[in-house]
Amino acid sequence: MSTINVVRAYGDTTGDGMVQISFTLPMPAGPKAEAAAAAFAAKMGLDPALVVHAKGIGPDFTFFVVYGRSSVVVDLDEIVVAEREYPLLTTKEINLEVKSRLKRRLVVVGGTVGTDAHTVGLDAILNVKGFAGEKGLEHYRELRVVNLGAQLDAVELVDRALRERADAILVSQVVTQRDAHVQHVQEVVTALRDRWPSDSGRHPMRPLLVVGGPRFDPGAAADLGVDRVFTRGTTPREVASYLVHALSRRRAA
């Protein structure tokens, strides 16, 4: 294969494949633990695997730092990047698009579902204040934003969206321990399905379901059963541009 399109890890020389790893094994420190750590690193593909640090944590655990050469080669031609599938529009363009296509203000209902009380991320997208120098969705003349805050019950969120005749539901999930974020999203998906049984031509149309949070897998929209996933560093304009794009595609369909 052409060497242009494959990459290896780079320590200080092209192709040296050097990587650093650290991990804890549930066993007491000592030669046996170090050998186990070396074996662990070897199984991760490091050869040679240099156990450069081993520290006992209490009587039952040992922490390791290992450096080594990884044979892993990534073929860049095989990398599929979640390219932005929509054009990034300016505030002006976004307002214009909404006006011309929807002929009314686009309604967004947002909140953090379940026990998750983190609102900073959602507020960064919704509030006028915005994020990274960009104003939030509230700032767009043609967007009506209903920010319900945190700790929402999924069903209540969906019902509220129904009442507000929302075009999109924005859900934020920041706590991911034990896949809390996935479970909470599932609750919303189910609630949506109850209200809009797949085949129903019910009006208003089912709102778009957009989820976001720092630890979502950007490619997981389909698996989650949502329309779009946004992850760390998202800016309000990206979200607004996406909404315009997705909704107009829908009407087209």
Partner: protein, 522 residues
């Protein structure tokens, strides 16, 4: 410990003025709290009297009983009179059988009067006194253990465990103690503070934290007593009171000899959308318990800086600390119990960031020289760059040492990613151990120029705090909270969770616990 060094020339008159203003702002709220009660306060009374356990659905008997009483006669007179009257007139000799019967709808509660009332009061007081006696006993054994095993020197190293599973928490807490932790805090499951009851038993199913239950408290305290003997110093245990069950969790903490409790007069309002009135009433009772139990409280001002900017909002931290101090003292806490919170949350890219942090930390230190300040590490600006995060935590530790903070909650390099790994905690301890040892006496060499950058910044923040307090006095604390003064989060007085649990005391309201805690029983 010896009084902290003064490095700023704060104007004592300004400081006194700030305290007067805080007292004035707090007064109406205190009045409200003195004349109201809540479902959770009443449930706490029953817990003190020894009512424990839950029904098949896991709803505690205290909830069942209070609900039954409320249905029949309301809570305006408190739960004690109707309950102990029922015990007296009926054949069920103990609270739990009464509760079960009541839950099944088999009891009609009435308000006693005359001699019935007097004997109900006596009986209630007698039973509740047992609970308080347990709290007193725990306080004494803590003193004994501190004397025998030794009380670690300040700053105390405060570490969090948060697996969601008490049986994973325990080995991690013990490892942390062996590694040098002086205080272990068991973070609660994300949802708990919104539950209007306290779960029962040992739990393994929390999200990003472990449920606060009496049994989990007991298990962890026992495990820490064990490791305390091993490491030869008393390792303190902390949990979280804030939430809809503040009074009850405070009570359970006293009954299981916890040593510190997160307990803030406004955290639940701002970060959990709990009703402001409910919170202010609950915090007062729970602090009366803490006061009796010799528990140190930790307040939550640090959290404001995660939603507000740490430079712009620095003065809101000071204002909140003065209010927490006021509410705390009024509830009977002493200075040594006021673990006021603040944090190292300025964006590391701000020029002179570290000196600004020193200015803030030193200001708090000098405003509250006798309080065991709880200093929180960077969180908001911790990213996935764990190396830089580890460095930032070291500078936090350094600021803590240089400004003589009392409690250092050591930061985790994975703050921006996951709840701490076992190894993160060990690395964090290595970090703080180095800073404390290598810079042991550095505070001696830290002498901000009298009119320099640090001194001027501290003065500015104090001045802004005084201005804000004045505005609060004019418009009322409730209005200020509604306007989003703290943590740029707006919370109107009549919204939020738990308002339905708030009850105004009727004349003749009787609460044996308050009577005993306030020493009105003489």
């Amino acid at each position: 410990m010896s009084p902290p060094t003064r490095r700023l020339e704060l104007d004592p008159r300004t400081v006194a003025r700030a305290r007067r203003l805080a007292a004035r702002a707090a007064a109406p709220v205190i009045a409200l709290a003195r004349t109201s009660t809540t479902t959770s306060v009443e449930r706490a009374v029953l817990r003190l009297a020894g009512l424990a356990g839950a029904d098949a659905e896991g709803i505690p008997w205290v909830n069942r009983l209070v609900d039954a009483v409320r249905a029949d006669v309301g809570l305006e007179h408190g739960v004690a009179l109707p309950v102990w009257h029922a015990l007296a007139v009926s054949e069920h000799d103990d609270l739990s059988t009464l509760a079960q019967k009541a839950a099944a709808g088999g009891v009609r509660f009435t308000l006693p009067s005359g001699t019935y009332e007097r004997s109900a009061k006596t009986a209630a007081r007698r039973d509740v006194a047992r609970g308080i006696a347990t709290i007193d006993r725990n306080r004494r054994s803590r003193q004994r253990l501190l004397a025998r095993l030794g009380d670690p020197p300040k700053p105390w190293i405060y570490l969090i465990v948060a697996t969601g599973d008490i049986y994973e928490d325990i080995p991690q807490a013990q490892a942390a103690a062996r590694g040098g932790a002086d205080i272990i805090a068991v973070i609660r499951s994300t949802g708990q503070s919104l539950l209007d009851y306290v779960p029962e038993g040992a739990t393994r199913d929390g999200f990003a934290g472990t449920y606060a239950t009496q049994e989990n408290f007991r298990l962890m305290r026992t495990a820490l007593d064990e490791v305390s003997r091993e490491v030869g110093r008393y390792v303190r245990l902390t949990n979280y009171a804030s939430g809809l069950c503040m009074p009850e969790i405070a009570t359970l903490a006293g009954l299981e000899r916890l040593d510190m409790m997160l307990n803030d007069c406004m955290y639940g309002i701002i970060f959990r959308d709990i009703n402001p009135q409910r919170t202010f009433i609950d915090q007062r009772f729970s602090r009366q318990i803490h006061s009796r139990a010799g528990i140190i409280i930790n307040t939550g001002e640090d959290n404001y800086l995660t939603t507000a900017d740490a430079v712009d909002a620095a003065h809101t931290v000071i204002v909140s600390q003065l209010l927490n101090e006021r509410f705390g003292l009024e509830a009977g806490l002493e200075d040594w119990q006021l673990g006021l919170g603040h944090a190292f949350e300025i964006n590391p890219e701000v020029p002179e960031q570290f000196r600004l942090e020193l200015a803030h930390a030193q200001l708090v230190r000098e405003l509250f020289p006798n309080a065991p300040l709880k200093y929180m590490p960077p969180t908001k600006h911790m990213t996935g760059d764990v190396f830089f995060g580890y460095l930032l935590d070291a500078f936090f530790n350094l600021a803590g040492v240089m400004t003589e903070q009392s409690i250092l909650l050591v930061g985790m390099m994975t703050e921006g990613i996951v709840t701490p790994f076992l190894s993160d905690r060990d690395l964090a301890l290595e970090n703080v151990r180095y800073v404390r040892s290598a810079c042991a006496g550095l505070a001696e060499d830290f002498r901000p120029a009298p009119d320099g950058f640090i001194a001027r910044r501290a003065e500015q923040v104090l001045a802004e705090a005084v201005d804000l307090l004045e505005r609060i006095c004019d418009e009322s604390l409730f209005a200020a909270i509604a306007k989003g003064t703290f943590g740029v989060t707006k919370r109107p007085p009549d919204t939020g969770k738990g308002l339905d649990g708030v009850v105004t005391q009727a004349p003749g309201y009787y609460n044996p616990a308050s009577v005993l805690l306030e020493g009105r029983d003489a």
